[in-house]
Symmetry: C2
Subunit: 339 residues, 2 copies
Amino acid sequence: MKNDLFLRALRGEKVERPPVWMMRQAGRYLPDYMKLREKYSFFERVETPELTTEITVMPVHQVGVDAAIIFSDILVIPQALEVEVQMIPGTGPVIPDPIRTKEQVEAIPEIDVKDRLHYVMDALRLTKQELNDAVPLIGFAGSPWTVFCYMVEGKGSKTFDKAKAFCYTQPEAAHLLLEKITHATIAYLKEKVASGADAIQIFDSWGGLLSPVDYEIFSLRYIREIVEAIHHLAPVIVFGKGCWFALEEMAQMPVSALGIDWTISPHMAREFTQYHVTLQGNFDPARLLSPIPEIKKLARQMVDNFGKYRYVANLGHGILPNIPVAHAKAFVEAIKEYG
Amino acid sequence: MKNDLFLRALRGEKVERPPVWMMRQAGRYLPDYMKLREKYSFFERVETPELTTEITVMPVHQVGVDAAIIFSDILVIPQALEVEVQMIPGTGPVIPDPIRTKEQVEAIPEIDVKDRLHYVMDALRLTKQELNDAVPLIGFAGSPWTVFCYMVEGKGSKTFDKAKAFCYTQPEAAHLLLEKITHATIAYLKEKVASGADAIQIFDSWGGLLSPVDYEIFSLRYIREIVEAIHHLAPVIVFGKGCWFALEEMAQMPVSALGIDWTISPHMAREFTQYHVTLQGNFDPARLLSPIPEIKKLARQMVDNFGKYRYVANLGHGILPNIPVAHAKAFVEAIKEYG
């Protein structure tokens, strides 16, 4: 690997400067991505390895990040499980027939992930070739709870009350669904590593909607199961948005890093995790709207506060579509100039 | 006051059991409220003292809570400031001409709150009469930051990126608007106390969207200004949803209580606030969908964990529209049966 800063930071080794990448870095703020988006539907972009590769390497060349993350979506898992997912531009994902009964859960088949999601594996292999070991390639999946949220709610939501209601009124069916998602996700991530992913990130985007007690019951135990199944194959990063309350517990898992959002101070995050793990984050995505000198100042302060070691610079959530590319670059540059 | 449990808990006095009320307790889960909602528009309900009083006392009689909270909306402040607010059923509040420039902020007039919002004061006086000192009456306002979010974004949002962008790209104009809201809110709350409110709650519903550093800059300093201006007139409760990271700072203000949402454990909340203040919360509103025996068990555990003193039982956010009344009652009963 020509630039292995990211992998070294995940292993807790000394680095010249922290590595930097951005969640959703291959996304709507990039004009070249927008051109592809006009020409090809979401599923065409995700299911055509050549397009996926082109999108994945784009921010490496154009913004200069230290890691690539395969362009895909967490909802390929329900799709592989034969639950129809539609992507409606401007609305987001819609599941026309959401899961609401035990019978529906029981009807979800055992599947061969390698077969169903072969296009992801093809894209990983092609991207590895294209990257030619310039930077590491990250593979990802949603946490079982987060995937469950969409499968039950049927669409995006502020509060996912229908998903929570399903847990609280039909806990047995809920756990059966969570188990099915977990098993498919483990097979999927193993296959991703076999196809070239150098690290794995698990996104728990909706874990922060649960109380600490319910988080353990409905989310963390399934994340733990996944981490235990794959951590010996590749370094694992778990990002739980809004899950500050579980950081101490999460740091006990065999993860290499924990992602954190911008609502926790670096000091607090270190206090909860005690340098057992590398931390990744946590620049407020909306702060990339600030003038460039301010972005650079805030980015430097962020590294000052986390420290240079056991740290991966990133945003605290996905980059927003309305961020000027120059601002994204300024953020990356500030980290590269650090120290 | 016949039942002064709530005021005693706010003062930190010993109580037989914790008092209990629910945010949005006079709301859509009550069939009798729904009848009024079908007959009268939102503004008719808020601006007609007889209707406001009827709605405010409803949960005292029907659910048995230990405090009433005046039926109103945080957006009466922008309205009084001559910014048009529409309430669109199914969509929520819409501000057709949101604030996006310094000129718009400068054009916001100095107003006589007492004159503009006389209907709130009339409703408070009428409700006090109607309650006849059965339980205390809470008056409320949004935090300046939260009111600002709606005024700039123009509608509800998951992330209020436009409001944040306004802060980060036009900080001077943003602070001028926050100051104008703060001054109007102080005058408004003073008048509410003079009209009979026994306690004041400030709702910072969107504080949790800011980083800890930006929270101090754009939200907490204005809340502090309000608290300092009114705490000698009535006990003040500040509820910052998602603001766990600021609890330690907030407990240094002269507040009587801090509201907390369900994503923080009672243990952590006590650790951050160190019994300087009473805590109010924090049952997950979606957990009221659980079967009644489970609701009662979880409610008892909650009091066990907070302790009986310096505690006001409540939800961690507003009650959901789809909660059966019997479930809301079971929650209130579990607290009343405590100990």
